[in-house]
Symmetry: C2
Subunit: 144 residues, 2 copies
DNA sequence: AAGATTTAAGAGTCTGTTGTCAGAAATAGT
DNA sequence: ACTATTTCTGACAACAGACTCTTAAATCTT
C-alpha cells in the first residue's frame, strides 16, 4: 500500500468537507457526520483530523455547531499537503529497494526506471487540488 | 513505502544471487554470505529466502557447500514474481483511497489518474527481469 | 448557572511486520 | 561414526500502525 490507512481516510475526509462546503465554506462540519458519510470510526477519524488541524490544513471549533472546515480555499489545498501532514514525504523520496543515499550519483539497479514512476506519482499528488477533486466528485456523482 | 522491508531485501538478495551466479549458475550461495553482502541480519534474510524457496523462485541445499540458488534462469524471473511471493499483488490492485470495489464502473475521485501511474509501476515490475538487473549492476558497477 | 454538544488529549488494546534466537534436520568431509 | 557446516522450523520479543475508550476543555442554548 502506498498510503497508510490514516492517510487515505484523511484525504477522503478533506474531500467530504470540501464537497459539503460548496454552499457554505465558512460552516463547520461535525466529525461525527463526516465519519458517518465515510463509514469509518468516529474516534479514529477524530485522531486523523487532529493531525490535519495541527498542520493548518483544517480549522476546528468546539461545542454545538462546531466541527472542522478547510483552513484555506480548496483551490490552494493539494493532495500532497495532506499526505505530507499524515504520512510524511518518504513515499516520494525513498529508493524502491530501500538503499540509503540512492540517487543520480549512486543509483540502485532500478533507480532510473523507478524515478520516472515516482515523479509521475508525485506530480499527481502535487497538482491535484481539493477543488478539482470535489468538482469531479459532484459532477460525476462519485462516492468518497 | 510501496514495498515492505522484507520484499526490498528479497529483491536485493535475488539480485545478489543472480550476479554471483554469472560464472557458475549451478552453485549454491550461503545465506550468511548474502547477508554480509547486503548488510542485513542473517536470521531475517533466512526467513525471507524461505518464502522465495517455497515460491519456487529459489532452490536451497543444506550442509557444507549448501545455500540458495535461482530455481530458473534469471531471464525467466521478474521482479513481480518476487513481489507477489512476499508482499502479494495488492500494491497493483488496490484503490489509492482504499475504497473497496473501486474500478472503471464505480471509480473513486482519483481513479483515472492513479490507474495510469499504477499501470506504469506494474509494467516496471512485470517487465524487469533479474537478468537485466544483474547485467546492469555488473556493467555499471552498481551496489545492491 | 446548568446542561447538552462537540473537539482535544492521552492512555490503552490489538494486529501485523520486523527481527532474534535456539534447536532440529540434512549434508559433506574425515 | 563423528564433527562441522548450513538450511529449516517454530517460538518469541520489539515495534509501528490501526483502532478504542475515557476524561477534559470549549462552546452554545436555555
Amino acid at each position: 500500500m502506498l498510503l497508510t490507512q490514516s492517510c487515505m481516510i484523511g484525504i477522503r475526509a478533506a474531500l467530504a468537507v470540501s464537497v459539503q462546503g460548496k454552499d457554505d465554506i465558512e460552516a463547520y462540519r461535525p466529525i461525527r457526520q463526516i465519519a458517518d458519510a465515510l463509514d469509518v470510526s468516529f474516534h479514529f477519524l477524530t485522531k486523523i483530523l487532529q493531525v490535519l488541524t495541527h498542520a493548518k490544513i483544517m480549522e476546528s471549533y468546539k461545542g454545538p455547531n462546531g466541527g472542522v472546515r478547510l483552513a484555506k480555499p480548496p483551490e490552494e489545498l493539494f493532495l500532497i499537503d495532506i499526505v505530507e501532514a499524515i504520512d510524511g514525504t518518504s513515499v516520494f523520496s525513498t529508493c524502491l529497494l530501500g538503499l540509503p543515499g540512492c540517487g543520480v550519483e549512486t543509483p540502485c539497479p532500478v533507480h532510473d526506471e523507478w524515478a520516472k514512476s515516482k515523479d509521475q506519482i508525485e506530480r499527481l499528488f502535487r497538482e491535484t487540488s481539493l477543488a478539482k477533486l470535489s468538482d469531479d466528485t459532484c459532477e460525476k456523482l462519485l462516492r468518497f
